[in-house]
């Protein structure tokens, strides 16, 4: 469970550090500058993101984590895989990736029409079934 830094939650301008051996050094939401919610529509945990190739308007403003996200998203990457790869909580990745999305640096990859829900796509389900059986 969450290890709270002594003295309770962090506040404006007071990023707290803690040194739990197994835990992150920076409080997770410090890398989002305290924001816990993305600006736009929250990304699903299996949303696939890919770089657009557009150059960042202000490269200096990108955080280290965002630069890592951009590097990974040179190929399509799900939000879950990004979170696991960067060892940051899903909620944090969602905020960081949401900003990259807003600034047009990454885009949501849509292979099917947005209306097509995978769980009701019979052709897709049949394919998945065949492959699962063959695994």
């Amino acid at each position: 469970m969450e290890q709270h830094a002594p003295g309770g939650p962090y506040g404006p301008g007071r990023e707290r550090w803690f040194d739990e051996a197994a835990g992150p050094i920076v409080r997770p939401y410090a890398v989002t500058r305290g924001r816990t919610r993305p600006r736009g529509e929250p990304l699903d945990i299996v949303t696939i993101l890919v770089v657009t190739g557009a150059p960042p308007a202000e490269p200096g403003r990108l955080t280290r984590e965002q630069r890592r996200l951009l590097a990974l998203c040179r190929r399509p990457y799900t939000v879950a895989d990004l979170a696991s790869e960067l060892e940051l909580p899903f909620g944090v990745i969602r905020v960081l990736a949401g900003d990259l999305l807003d600034s047009g640096l990454v885009a949501v990859q849509r292979w099917t029409s947005p209306a097509a829900a995978p769980h009701t796509d019979q052709n897709l389900l049949r394919r998945v079934l065949d492959e699962l059986r063959a695994l």
Partner: protein, 226 residues
């Protein structure tokens, strides 16, 4: 590795890449399957038996009073909770990947489930015959959300054996919901659970009934539900 950006993903309608390259190109379709169940029921074991398991954390604000607020003032008063999820991926051909999320079954984690169950292919409710009541909350949840689910009974060595009809009866679930006895440690057995779930999802997709039916429905529909 692919270096040039000339290999940007193509629309599936226009031509296909070769399978190896597709693997490198990352998933084109990502499907979610939830594995829900009480503490110690074998979620980690099941996910680990069919996929490479990796750590994934989610950190959630416990209050939602400041949804949409992105300044620090909204955060200062909040506490967050960390939830570790079991996370596994099965990569199939043609850029299809199945993502497995093992989530704690207790109601206090439902904020996470709402997120995970949206658009999910389905869910596995992992049950232990020694503690069947621990599965009730999960079953209620997926019934209410209309998420296709199967009940997988993890047959622990020292637990009494019951057959599927007995368990179905004890759980009082819709007769269409598959009850699958499994050994979560075995790859084949765990795979059979997933196959059972996708078969069930396919049956529902090809013969849809209204979802989210929590109460008995009057009229001709009732016959179909019984």
């Amino acid at each position: 590795m692919n270096s040039a950006r000339s290999d940007r993903p193509k629309d599936p309608a226009n031509g296909r890449a070769d399978p190896e390259k597709e693997e490198q190109d990352g998933p084109r379709v990502a499907l979610k399957i939830l594995v829900a169940g009480g503490f110690g029921v074998g979620k980690t074991t099941l996910v680990g038996a069919v996929s490479e398991i990796r750590p994934l954390r989610t950190e959630e604000a416990l209050t939602d009073a400041s949804v949409g607020v992105d300044d620090l003032d909204g955060v200062a008063a909040k506490t967050t909770t960390t939830v570790a999820m079991d996370f596994g991926r099965i990569t199939l051909r043609d850029g299809v990947a199945i993502y497995l999320f093992g989530t704690p079954g207790q109601e206090r984690f439902w904020f996470m489930w709402n997120e995970l169950s949206r658009g999910a292919l389905g869910a596995v409710v992992l049950a232990d015959t020694r503690r069947l009541t621990a599965s009730f909350a999960s079953i209620d949840y997926f019934e209410e959300k209309g998420t296709p689910f199967v009940v997988a009974v993890n047959c622990f060595d020292n637990a009494d054996r019951y057959d599927a009809p007995e368990i179905r009866n004890a759980l009082d679930i819709d007769p269409r919901v598959p009850v699958i006895l499994c050994d979560a440690r075995q790859n084949d057995s765990a795979k059979r659970v997933l196959v059972g779930l996708v078969e069930h999802a396919l049956r529902l997709a090809s013969n849809p009934v209204p979802t989210g039916v929590a109460k008995p429905v009057e009229g001709p529909l009732e016959g179909r539900l019984r």
